[in-house]
Symmetry: C2
């Protein structure tokens, strides 16, 4: 112990320059001792890195304002052993990137993930000489443009990918829909649950994520929400998830303001346990400020 | 009027052999007078075809058991002028397709939508000589394999795509997760709301889809659910949608058993109107049987 803090190892899904990399870079920018970000090929690999101790935590997307919840990350949480210790909200701003010297008029094809291409549909329609080509991910598209060295190729990706791959921003904020946000959650080993909140003062407002399984009968969910409402606990998210394997049970994801270990949520949860087939606290953590 | 029914024109999103094409083919197979299916490049184009009268209806995906709700289709419904007149549930079974004479061992690369490739992660890991390559959609990947005429190329797509593009099924049901279902909704012009249900007997159980906007205060949603539960109306789906433009209001999607124009739902809705900032009935329609 020489007093110099070790860098925090944080897993994310994707490659350098991705939106996940950007979210992690921002979140841990001011951490004493620094941070080492590790890109993983899949969400599962990032979760595995945390479970095995290779990484202290993982920052994974859980919800996007246009594409919805990332069910795969909920499934990893449901599988156990992990807890949510924090959240971060990032604005997604797609940029058109090219090699230095390239121009929008000189481009012939644009690479990106099909979802990003579709989110930039209006821009592509207004520039009909740009042929859209699918790629695995936005940052990978930027890397491919750099690798090809062809000034007639562009990529749709975040601004961070330009710096990482030596590209220039030819057009910015080209998505059709204003206000595209992704919410990320920080996952740590379940033992970390009672640890002080990471990277943020512990005194601000807190939030709790729950997973419920309810019997399929009128009023089951109403009773749960009534138990929360009666104590003034505010919902910030509620979603049912079809469970094909069990057609008469429903799984719900809930986010509630407050901490599961503090009142009024603690006694609301004590009441809810009796109303549900399953109640899992996925984590209580500091609430993120809205994105810039 | 010669008594011969005209074919029904149905818009879907995608190309021939896609999962949407398959869902539409099954749904309208026994319609007297037949059906003409029209593939559209985007959800918006399919909705536009209905609004303009080019198509009688559109069959669009609204929810997938692993990927979640298709927010873009909800947004098209929220924009008005359309109503849900029916639903269909399809099991998604990914197959590995190749040219006649191709073998799994002889393949070198596999094309598909990134999401389909990721859903077949276990299969690809067990066959490490297969290089995954991104494509815009599953059926387009099958078409590309046919176009290239290269027996070392495969595609991950539905079984229907094999027949359409003259390919053979080299492996079936290769998705990692059992039970991948997509729910499709049939959209028609809003005037069609009171018309008799299409393509199905009108006497079976019905279902109503609602869109609500609620003030951000504890108990707002609990009161809505209580109004439904008190009348025995069963929820089959509930989802909150973040609205970045209005951070203090929440939009909810609800599916409820029953018809909005019949009791007990009619009086529940009359009560709910007073509890919500906005209440929209997106449609009442015959409930689909579960997928085969």
């Amino acid at each position: 112990m020489d007093g110099v803090p070790e860098p925090l190892v944080v897993a994310y899904q994707g490659v350098e320059g991705s939106y996940s990399d950007l979210a992690a870079t921002r979140r841990y920018a001011s951490r004493p001792g620094g941070v080492r970000l590790v890109g993983c090929p899949t969400f599962r690999a990032a979760a595995e890195a945390v479970r095995s101790g290779t990484a202290a935590c993982a920052l994974l997307p859980i919800e996007n304002s246009t594409a919805g919840s990332v069910h795969e990350v909920y499934d990893l949480l449901a599988a156990g052993g992990l807890t949510i210790t924090g959240e971060a909200v990032e604005r997604i701003e797609h940029c058109l990137l090219g090699l230095p010297g390239a121009t929008v008029e000189g481009l012939r094809a644009v690479l990106s993930h099909p979802q990003a291409l579709s989110q930039c549909e209006d821009f592509l329609r207004a520039h009909p000489w740009l042929e859209a080509r699918p790629a695995f991910d936005t940052a990978g598209a930027a890397r491919a443009v750099r690798g090809a060295g062809d000034p007639s190729l562009g990529a749709i990706a975040g601004r961070a990918a330009a710096a990482v791959y030596g590209l220039v921003v030819l057009a910015e904020s080209i998505q059709s829909q204003e206000g595209n946000f992704t919410r990320f959650v920080e996952l740590a080993r379940a033992e970390a649950r009672s640890a002080p909140p990471r990277g943020q003062a512990g005194d601000g407002p807190r939030k709790t994520s729950l997973l419920l399984t309810l019997p399929h009968r009128p009023g089951a969910l109403a009773a749960v929400l009534q138990a929360l409402a009666a104590r003034g606990a505010n919902l910030t998210k509620l979603e049912s998830r079809p469970l094909p394997a069990a057609p008469w049970e429903y799984r719900f994801y809930l986010d509630v303001e407050g901490d599961a270990a503090a009142e009024p949520l603690a006694s609301a949860l004590a009441e809810i346990v009796g109303l549900t087939a399953e109640l899992r606290v996925l984590g209580s953590y500091p609430r993120a400020a809205a994105a810039d």
